[in-house]
């Protein structure tokens, strides 16, 4: 097996440079690569193009990179739970590209799967479809969408082994598997790391071939955005 385990967080983010395009897994604050974001926020790297479904909150997740003005452009489906984001966007300091969530997911998968473009009905006849090729299939108009790849993909999984095989937990899976496929260099942080042979090959969510670096993350905060509960009766 190919050993993907890196010794330090520095080694994990080595090679990320100003101006690069990076993908970051997660939906809201669920399943985000906390350790990698924290490490990136301590560097001088700027002008990042970040592809992530959301943009974090003011003091957590991608909000940390926004605070530092390390992000030049966000490619997301839903943003703005975040005052600093709003400020930078309205000031023109931050570019924002909004993409329908399913299209964003499929663009990442397609990029990782060597499919350069595909047709989808989402966004037809809306702003999103502007200047995009329209074609009818079965009497229904679709638009042509190009796939996405990135210089780095930062993803978060629950369990992983040194060969880079990953298992996610609950809805923390979300965009992580597709972004793992679409990163030229995919860095996976996990809560629990295992030796090869300890994970069931039948139950791997992301096969190790998609992962170039893996490490066990520290101090997962796993902040909850909307704590909703019911009372015990």
């Amino acid at each position: 097996m190919i050993n993907k385990k890196v010794k330090s967080i520095d080694e994990a983010i080595e090679g990320v440079k100003t101006g690069m395009t990076v993908m970051l897994g997660g939906f809201g604050l669920c399943g985000i690569p906390e350790n990698c974001i924290r490490a990136l926020s301590k560097t001088k790297i700027k002008n990042l193009i970040c592809i992530s479904n959301n943009a974090g909150v003011d003091d957590f997740g991608l909000g940390l990179l926004l605070q530092n003005k390390q992000i030049k452009k966000m490619i997301s489906s839903y943003v703005g739970e975040n005052k600093e984001f709003e400020r930078q966007m309205l000031n023109g300091e931050l570019e924002v590209d909004l993409i329908p969530q399913g299209t964003l997911a499929e663009k990442c998968r397609a990029g990782g799967a060597g499919i350069p473009a595909f047709f989808t009905p989402a966004g037809y006849a809306t702003e999103i479809g502007k200047n995009k090729e329209v074609r009818e299939f079965n009497g229904k108009p679709h638009i042509l969408e190009n796939s996405l790849i990135s210089d780095f993909a930062f993803i978060k999984a629950w369990k992983g082994d040194t060969a880079g095989n990953l298992i996610y937990k609950g809805t923390a899976r979300n965009f992580n598997p597709m972004m793992a496929m679409a990163g030229k260099i995919t860095v996976a942080e996990v809560e629990e790391i295992y030796s090869v042979g300890e994970l069931d090959p039948n139950q791997i969510h992301t096969p190790g071939i998609f992962v170039q670096r893996i490490f066990q993350g520290e101090k997962y905060e796993k902040r909850i955005e909307q704590k909703t509960t019911r009372k015990k009766i």
Binding site: F27, G28, L29, C30, G31, N53, S76, S77, Y78, V79, G80, E81, E86, M89, L90, V96, L98, P100, Q101, G102, T103, L104, A105, E106, C108, R109, T120, P121, A122, G123, Y124, A125, T126, E127, I128, W158, Y168, K169, G170, T171, A172, R173, N174, F175, N176, P177, M178, H205, K222, R223, I224, E225, Q226, K227, T228, T229, R230, K231, K232
Partner: protein, 218 residues
């Protein structure tokens, strides 16, 4: 008397068909889950990657790794399944989800919907709404009939940037239940005590009245 949000949800719940998969949007649509009619078996899909969503967790039992598309903590029912975002939208785009209930800022009489952007205001994004409205075979909109200024949100033509075209099948508002047909909006039911004339007054779109319009039964 106009319906309140829970009553809108309750009326929509009557549209739930047995043994179907349903995606509920944020806001009023989420409330629909509280009024599933007896004997009707539905399974809820949330586009962030869960099928078989259950109720909110008990206080203290929240799992940060288990949320819905509204980022609320949730639980799962026995027989649930978890998956990634591309698989989730494969279900949506591939028409495997039978019913979608969504909120809207505006709906037009040909079934266009606008619910993601107000020019001049901070744009938060469409999330999964564009994928949902572009593909779902059956879309019910849950909304207030008018905006805060009292202006109709049921229009001849949407004025806001649209989310999708010719997609809404039914509208349930605080005032009325309307079907979107090839001929236009058919008024099916009216809120208790609200006259057809009053509904038309608050509706910019033309309403087709085919028969005596009964009151909404809740």
């Amino acid at each position: 008397m106009a319906l309140d949000k829970n009553q809108i949800a309750k009326r929509i719940a009557k549209e739930l068909k047995n043994n179907t998969y349903v995606n509920l949007g944020i806001g009023i649509p989420t409330l629909v889950a509280n009024y599933i009619p007896e004997g009707v078996n539905v399974e809820f899909q949330s586009e962030n990657g869960v099928l078989g969503m259950g109720p909110f967790p008990f206080e203290g039992e929240e799992d940060p790794d288990m949320i819905n598309a509204g980022k609320q903590t949730i639980t799962t029912m026995p027989g649930a399944a978890l998956f990634d975002s591309s698989t989730s939208f494969a279900m949506i785009r591939g028409n495997h989800v039978q019913l979608t209930v969504l909120g809207a800022m505006e709906v037009s009489e040909n079934g266009d919907i606008a619910n993601w952007k107000i020019p001049g205001k901070m744009v938060k994004g469409m999330g999964g709404a564009m994928d949902l409205v572009a593909s779902a075979e059956n879309i019910i909109v849950a909304m207030m009939h008018t905006n805060k200024e009292g202006k109709s949100k049921v229009l001849k033509k949407c004025t806001l940037p649209i989310t999708g075209v010719n997609c809404v099948k039914k509208i349930v508002s605080n005032l009325a239940v309307m079907d979107v047909t090839s001929k236009g909006l058919v008024l099916l039911e009216r809120a208790p005590g609200v006259s057809v004339e009053t509904i038309q007054k608050y509706t910019e779109a033309r309403l087709i009245i085919n028969q005596d319009v009964p009151e909404i039964q809740i």
